[in-house]
């Protein structure tokens, strides 16, 4: 746990840098009202803070040494590529030896509950397999450039392997090549990377999952009525797949269902709620609304509740406490959950398997589940729900 304490030290030292800068300025301010002397005294501020920082830096460099030493074992796995699409799961054995290999994971988001669940899965698998991980993601799923920077720096860390969920595959292509050149195996997760370089992709089949949601919607409505879609965005793969999977199933299997034009709320709860309310206002005969991710689904629940209209069937996607509550209270019929914990686990497991030289399947389906009031407390479901 040495590297962990060194990180804490570095954080503390850097936080102190900011505070010290301020404190020194304060000191120079009150010490003298002279313009000339203030310039010289406040110039001492960074110097003082560097003293504070250097304490943390020594221990921190020790931690980074451990990360780099793991990279030697990476070369074995990177040459082999997945040969079949068979759904065989990787089964790595725990890593042994003095230093733990570092797996740098760059996801599509960070503070969102879903990505935190992926992180939790990755963390637990890493502990189990004896590797260390870092987990980062841009503030929103539109921040392609920030993700590119994060991936650049992940490669600069010289990790043993990289887990990556691309916001834009083409933008990431040169970096993929760079990782390949440095013999760092790359495991794609969530919505894959459009490239030959990743050894495998651990992801949900979003189209199939959305079709499952459509099936439950149709069943609940008896195969007829107006249904609206509140989708999180129209540019990402997950947004389009979850829209198209739902729409296509309905067109093929439920001729009595009249679909309204999909609306996009950016996954923002408040915006999605407003969209849901305006749909209800415009279509008093609306029978069902589908929200395509957590933010959209919670927004739909809010919108339906606030509008006060009864008898609208709401189906959501992903989980989170608000959706779980809505299902328990009956406002929401049910939802599709991906298996974010599983995505995290499979990503790390695949990376370790690659390090051990195992052959990986092209796609690892991490699965999805339909859950509603009847099975929400089922331990199998509880395990994949995040709050």
């Amino acid at each position: 746990m040495r590297s962990r304490t060194s990180r804490v030290g570095a954080v503390a030292a850097l936080a102190a840098t900011g505070l010290l800068l301020g404190a020194c300025a304060q000191a120079s301010d009150s010490a003298s009202s002279s313009s000339s002397s203030s310039a010289s005294s406040s110039s001492s501020a960074p110097a003082v803070s560097s003293v504070g920082s250097s304490a943390g830096s020594e221990t921190a460099s020790a931690g980074s040494g451990s990360a780099s030493s793991g990279s030697g074992s990476a070369s074995a796995g990177s040459s082999s590529s997945g040969s079949s699409a068979a759904a065989g799961m990787p089964s790595p054995t725990p890593m042994s030896g003095g230093t733990k290999p570092l797996i740098a994971i760059v996801s599509k988001g960070f503070q969102h509950q879903f990505w935190q669940a992926v992180k939790a899965g990755a963390d637990s698998e890493a502990a189990k397999l004896g590797v260390t991980i870092t987990f980062e993601g841009p503030p929103t799923e539109a921040d392609v450039e920030i993700q590119i920077d994060e991936l650049t720096q992940a490669i600069a860390k010289k990790p043993a392997a990289i887990g990556f969920a691309a916001l834009d595959s083409k933008a990431a292509a040169p970096l993929m090549q760079q990782a390949k050149d440095q013999n760092i195996p790359v495991i794609a997760f969530d919505s894959g990377v459009d490239s030959d370089i990743p050894l495998t992709t651990a992801a949900t089949d979003n189209k199939a999952a959305a079709a499952e949601a459509a099936k439950h919607m149709s069943e609940a409505l008896g195969g007829k009525g107006k249904v609206a879609l509140v989708v999180h965005d129209q540019t990402s793969a997950s947004g389009t797949q979850r829209r198209d999977g739902f729409v296509e199933w309905m067109k093929a299997n439920a001729p009595g269902i009249q679909l309204l034009e999909p609306q996009y709320g950016g996954g923002d709860q408040a915006k999605s709620a407003d969209i849901a309310k305006s749909i209800i206002a415009a279509n008093p005969d609306i029978k069902g609304i589908y929200g395509s991710n957590e933010g959209s689904a919670i927004g739909v629940v809010k919108g339906v509740t606030e509008s006060g209209v009864k008898g609208i069937t709401v189906i959501g996607f992903d989980s989170g406490q608000a959706q779980i509550d809505a299902i328990n209270s009956g406002v929401m019929l049910g939802a599709i959950t991906q298996n974010p914990v599983g995505i995290g686990e499979q990503t790390v497991a695949a990376a370790v398997a690659a390090l051990e030289g195992q052959t990986l399947p092209k796609v690892i389906d991490t699965g999805f589940y339909w859950y509603d009031k009847s099975n929400i407390n089922d331990p199998k479901i509880q395990a994949v729900l995040y709050k």
Binding site: S32, S33, S34, S35, S37
Partner: protein, 536 residues
């Protein structure tokens, strides 16, 4: 603490030895890097008196006030207040101890009412939490009645005149049970009637337990209100005079350390000098009505009038800062259209605002940037690039020839004293090489010595053939400087006097005509009043 030989008279004066002085400043010093702002300062305020404090700009008056209110801490020396040592820590402490300072720039919130302003920070509460407007207004009402101030506690301060805002400041100060009231240039923006009201208020305030320190440049006011006059110069105590037994010459000679030579009144400009600027029927939506006058080459035209007569508005309209609804402006006989200050500057008309900080200076920029501002575009640039070397040389030249006291042309303008800031603004327009310069209150807030320099400068400019419009509220200044005087009242020109015919009485007579209210005045001026007024 040694007492210098020329220490204040308070201690040695017969009878005063036993009486406790209300406020004493003993040997106080305060330095800033490169400047000794105060050195061994002495001052004695006796109970029941109004002590005038005079000194040129930069003499140390503001520093002394800031020390007394605890904004600065002295490097040495002591204060005594009501007999005991007094070390103010901050303005609130000073105020609560009984020393209130009314600054030239008011500390009032225009969007709050009179009562809210007076009791800000001390609002009466009901139930310990909620504000009680009723109690607040009642308290303020009582205070205002006691002080005989004609103010409504509920009125918004922003809607009051400057004089009434000052009353609010005074009421606020006195609500703290102040025993010492320090007023910095309290009459700078007041008209004569308002000054009289202020003075009677001060007299009512002074009791055997209280005293007033009155800082002013205006000598006639000192005569009217003060008991004694303390003169300081260059951060040092100079002398204290009994007002009754001393002349203004005594005071001024101590302030400047030399006698002032009063120039002779100027001769009229010969009428054969060509008319440079002629203004006909200038009107604006709010104030100006049918303003007409001419300005000859090499002439200093005084624009006189009471506060609100429209003099500044004429200047702003002439340079295109305010919109004009009617009127023709001719420059060398040719009608010109001035819609923006840029048009005016291009025609060679420069305006030096009365409010330097708001309209004249770039406070956060260097002296060099300020001096060059107007002429950068046409004289010190080529293809959009600034020619720095000649620009800086020109700035240095003006700093030297106008004797602007600044360590360098890279000094930030806000660090200069008022007089030097004014010189920077003047330099800006001189460098622009304008033919017509409009000076609005050119010597406001400027010390006596610097005033003389600016007067000489104006005369020199006129001799060089520049035409000057000088707006001034100080009648002696207008009379002394102007070749010709145009007098305004209520947005109209009420008369024009040559230097020979003008004196205080004749100017004041014209300045107080009210043609729009008084038909006799209108008749005297031959003004045809609008028809609907005739019916009324």
């Amino acid at each position: 603490m040694s007492v210098p030989l020329d220490a204040p008279t308070g201690r040695s004066a017969a009878g005063a030895a036993t009486a406790t002085n209300l406020l004493e400043v003993v040997g106080v010093s305060k330095g800033f890097p490169g400047v000794k702002a105060l050195q061994d300062m002495h001052l004695t305020l006796r109970p029941g008196e109004v002590l005038a404090l005079v000194g040129e700009n930069g003499a140390g008056k503001s520093t002394l006030m800031k020390l007394l209110s605890g904004i600065y801490q002295p490097d040495g020396g002591e204060f005594f207040f009501e007999g005991g040592p007094f070390t103010p820590t901050d303005p609130k402490h000073a105020q609560e101890s009984g020393i209130s300072i009314i600054h030239q720039e008011f500390n009032l919130m225009p969007d709050l009412t009179v009562a809210q302003n007076i009791f800000i920070g001390r609002e009466p509460r009901s139930g310990g939490f909620f504000l009680s407007d009723r109690a607040l207004n009642r308290k303020a009402g009582e205070l205002l009645r006691r002080l005989e101030l004609p103010l409504d506690p509920r009125q918004l301060v922003g809607t009051l005149t400057v004089a009434k805002q000052q009353m609010v400041e005074i009421a606020k100060a006195l609500s703290y049970d102040a025993r010492v009231l320090i007023m910095d240039e309290p009459t700078a923006a007041l008209n004569d009637a308002e000054v009289a009201t202020l003075h009677s208020l001060i007299r009512r305030f002074v009791t055997p337990q209280t005293g007033v320190i009155y800082i002013s440049h205006k000598m006639d006011e000192l005569k009217a209100i003060s008991d004694r006059i303390t003169v300081i110069r260059d951060g040092r105590y100079v002398d204290t005079l009994d007002t009754a037994t001393s002349t203004m010459g005594d005071v001024i000679s101590r302030m400047v350390g030399r006698e002032i030579d009063t120039d002779a009144r100027p001769e009229n400009v010969r009428p054969d000098r060509p008319v440079l600027l002629s203004v006909e029927g200038l009107s604006t939506r709010t104030l100006l009505k049918d303003v007409s006058f001419e300005l000859r080459e090499g002439e200093i035209l005084g624009l006189a009038g009471l506060m609100g007569a429209g003099r500044t508005e004429v200047a702003r309209a002439l340079v295109g800062a305010d919109a004009v609804t009617a009127g023709t402006v001719r420059l060398r006989g040719e009608p010109v259209s001035v819609r923006t200050p840029a048009d005016a500057a291009a025609l060679g008309i420069g305006y030096l605002s009365e409010d330097r900080k708001q309209f004249g200076l770039l406070l956060s920029q260097t002296v060099n940037a300020n001096i060059g501002l107007s002429s950068l575009g046409d004289r010190f640039s080529s293809a959009g690039f600034v020619k720095d070397r000649p620009m800086r040389a020109a700035s240095r030249e003006y700093v030297e020839s106008l004797r602007i006291r600044t360590p360098s042309i890279n000094q930030t303008a806000k660090n200069l004293s008022g007089g030097n800031q004014q010189k920077v603004v003047i330099s800006k327009w001189l460098l622009k090489d304008c033919d017509i310069l409009i000076f609005d209150e050119p010597t406001r807030g400027i010390d006596v010595g610097a005033k003389e320099e600016i007067y000489r400068l104006l005369n020199r400019l006129a001799e060089e053939g520049k035409s000057i419009i000088m707006i001034s509220s100080e009648l002696p200044e207008v009379l002394r400087m102007s070749h010709r005087i145009v007098v305004m009242s209520e947005g109209r020109v009420t008369g024009e006097l040559s230097a020979a015919e003008a004196d205080q009485e004749s100017v004041m007579h014209l300045a107080t005509l009210r043609p729009d209210e008084n038909p006799e005045d209108a008749a005297e001026l031959g003004i045809q009043l609008p028809v609907e007024k005739d019916h009324a």
